[in-house]
């Protein structure tokens, strides 16, 4: 059993915050205390092309505070020491990941206890830029599937993917509109027919009601922008707000009754 398979044994709440934005250690603890099952730690980047205003702002705050790649790994390693069982995923863009070479990055991930990596701008076609190095260290390359990923392309996306599959439910950037429940259910069913990996659904999920609905059809629900907004709003006081929102999200996700097998 990996940390992922344990976490996704029941509907899982996946929570995202940007590393170095506020007191990230305290923020991550609050997410876990609130009931988050998987942590996605965003690596700040100057040019977050797939992100909406909330996460763009978090990236700018983090870099403005002087966050370095070494700080991201220090946050990850400290998290792993405090929470030995919670899956930890790094999410970000290619350039900071490959800057010192993919082997260096994979090695640092392994040392920090990172379970998986989501790289927004390395599609399967460019897998060799990072994928082989991650697999060699036992780090899961987590791929994104989207509404534009058609049936012909799906095997390419799923091949070489590990940990879980992140279904981006809207064609767009983070934190904007939400997809219709029916389209999510269809998409998850389509993915499930092609892979045994758990399917987590994200983009535009802001409320416990939305999260609970998605958890009826998917293995996990990813929440990011609304949490990042709380960090931006409350700064040092963010943990209590994060914990409260996470608790209500977790309750909705964990109590969701599956409507499909």
């Amino acid at each position: 059993m990996t940390r992922f398979s344990t976490a996704f044994a029941k509907p899982a709440l996946v929570c995202f915050v940007t590393a170095g934005d506020g007191d990230t250690g305290a923020n991550l603890d609050a997410l876990v205390e609130g009931g988050a099952d998987v942590i996605e730690l965003g690596m700040p980047f100057t040019d977050p092309m797939a992100d909406g205003p909330a996460i763009q702002a978090a990236n700018i705050r983090s870099l403005g505070a002087g966050t370095k790649t070494a700080d991201v790994f220090a946050i990850a390693a400290a998290f792993r020491a405090r929470h030995p069982d919670v899956p930890l995923v790094l999410m970000g863009y290619a350039n900071p990941m490959v800057r010192r070479g993919p082997e260096w990055f994979a090695d640092e991930c392994a040392k920090a206890g990172v379970d998986g990596v989501i790289c927004v701008d390395i599609p399967p076609e460019e897998d060799e830029a990072l994928g082989p190095a991650l697999r060699a260290k036992g780090i899961a390359p987590i791929r994104l599937a989207t509404p534009t990923t058609d049936a012909a392309r799906l095997p390419t996306v799923l091949g070489g993917s590990d940990g879980f599959v992140y279904y981006v439910s809207v064609a767009g950037i983070t934190g904007k509109q939400q997809a219709a429940q029916a389209s999510i259910a269809d998409a998850v069913a389509r993915l499930k027919a092609s892979t045994d990996l758990p399917i987590a659904v994200g983009f535009g999920v802001r409320t416990p009601e939305q999260a609970g609905e998605i958890a009826k059809v998917a293995d996990g629900v990813v929440v990011g922008s609304v949490l990042v907004e709380l960090v931006g709003q409350h700064g040092a006081d963010a943990p209590q707000h994060l914990k409260a929102l996470t608790a209500s999200l977790a309750k909705a996700v964990h109590s969701a009754a599956k409507t499909t097998a």
Partner: protein, 404 residues
């Protein structure tokens, strides 16, 4: 590593790689679109009707072929090699950018796209895109850094006159790279009806190849014109480089002419010894941004740093991947020229030839000035005069301390 290929004109490979550069580093949402674009581009390339329509518009709308001009007084003033210009500043809209926009909008219409988006720095690509959108009746949104909107207000007004919506981008340093980020965000959210007209030979495959191909009309014409006028090929080609589309347009048809040397001129801004420059090849290192692996201005953690140049059109922290490959193979030499040297080149051309150049090719003029003096009188330099300077007179006046 430095094995010389049989031909320099066969790149990229079928995955869009120029050696270790290029590729398709985009989010999954865009990947099917990029693959679709490549299929459609291949079909268009094989369709004589597409090429005929492209050629017809270049001739009758853009005003091609642009002249090949012997700069007699500049040559005399420099006292060395003969200086010739490819006059792409005489194109409709005043720069080479329109060549590529004609090609891409024809492709967009062929694909049934209903809406055009583009990024722009100095505004030349924005104006060219707004122009072709007006010509073909398609709605057009131009993303432009808020800083550039301030620096280039005449071009902002031109775009609006042409019916485009100009969206100022305030994220990051509010310049060209941020405009490109916003263009990509728009595209990813409007995948079904929108075509992104990228303005330089960068971005995910097939853009670098496609933009180069559309711009290669510059070098193809120039090569034939030079042979017809002088009976020989030039000894040295010179062009300025931001993303690198005008330089590739000139260079590419000559790449397998072993005796033709080539010089790409980057913007050294306030000098390569500091951070205030936009010379990705000379002052940067390989990385991944905006869909391709190429040379970037970046820090040790891979964060992208802001470029600087007096010329907004060169103020980009990356460069087309084919240039990165041409640098690694040694086929093209790259140098950088400072703001002050470009300003001197600008004034020199105004007074010797009666041509007000854009600040971008003024960098190339500075390089011509240096090289011509070291060459014999029977040698020929061919420079791409890729844009005219009407848009830059306010910047130049300010720099010279003149109130207009």
């Amino acid at each position: 590593m430095n094995i010389q290929p049989n031909s320099y004109r066969t790149q990229p490979d079928d995955r869009g790689h120029f050696g270790e550069f290029g590729g398709r580093y985009v989010a999954e949402t865009l990947m099917p679109l990029v693959l679709d674009l490549e299929r459609e581009y291949r079909a268009a390339q094989a369709d004589p009707a597409f090429q005929a329509q492209f050629d017809d518009l270049l001739e009758h709308y853009v005003g091609r072929p642009s002249p090949l001009y012997f700069a007699e007084r500049l040559t005399e003033a420099l006292g060395g090699a003969q200086v010739w210009f490819k006059r792409d500043e005489l194109n409709h809209t005043g720069a080479h950018k329109i060549n590529n926009c004609i090609g891409q909008i024809l492709l967009a219409m062929r694909m049934g796209k209903k809406r055009i988006i583009a990024e722009t720095g100095a505004g030349q690509h924005g104006v060219a895109t707004a122009t072709v959108c007006a010509r073909f009746g398609l709605p057009c949104v131009i993303y432009m850094g808020a800083e550039d909107v301030k620096r280039q207000s005449p071009n902002v007004f031109r775009m609006k006159l042409l019916g485009a919506e100009v969206v100022p981008v305030t994220s990051g340093g509010a310049t060209l790279k941020d405009a490109m980020n916003e263009g990509l965000r728009d595209w990813v959210a409007n995948v079904h009806d929108t075509f992104y007209i990228i303005g330089t030979a960068a971005g995910p495959h097939p853009y670098p190849e496609m933009v180069r191909d559309f711009q290669s009309v510059i070098g193809t014409e120039a090569r034939a014109q030079m042979l017809s006028r002088t009976g020989r090929l030039p000894d040295l080609l010179i062009a300025c480089i931001g993303g690198g589309s005008n330089a590739l347009g000139l260079f590419h048809p000559f790449l397998d002419d072993a005796d033709v040397k080539m010089l790409g001129v980057e913007a050294a801004g306030h000098g390569l010894d500091g951070d205030e420059h936009a010379a990705s090849l000379l002052g940067g290192s390989p990385g991944v941004l905006h869909g391709n692996r190429t040379y970037l201005l970046q820090d040790e953690d891979g964060q992208i740093t802001e470029g600087h140049s007096i010329s907004a059109g060169l103020d980009y922290p990356g460069i087309g991947p084919e240039h990165a490959w041409l640098k690694e193979t040694g086929r093209v030499e790259y140098i950088a020229v400072t703001d002050d040297e470009a300003l001197d080149g600008f004034q020199l051309l105004c007074r010797t030839e009666g041509i007000i150049p854009a600040l971008e090719p003024s960098h190339a003029i500075a390089a011509v000035t240096d090289r011509a003096k070291t060459m014999r009188e029977d040698e020929i330099i061919l420079m791409n005069l890729c844009g005219r300077g009407d848009k830059d007179i306010f910047t130049v006046a300010e720099k010279l301390g003149v109130k207009i």
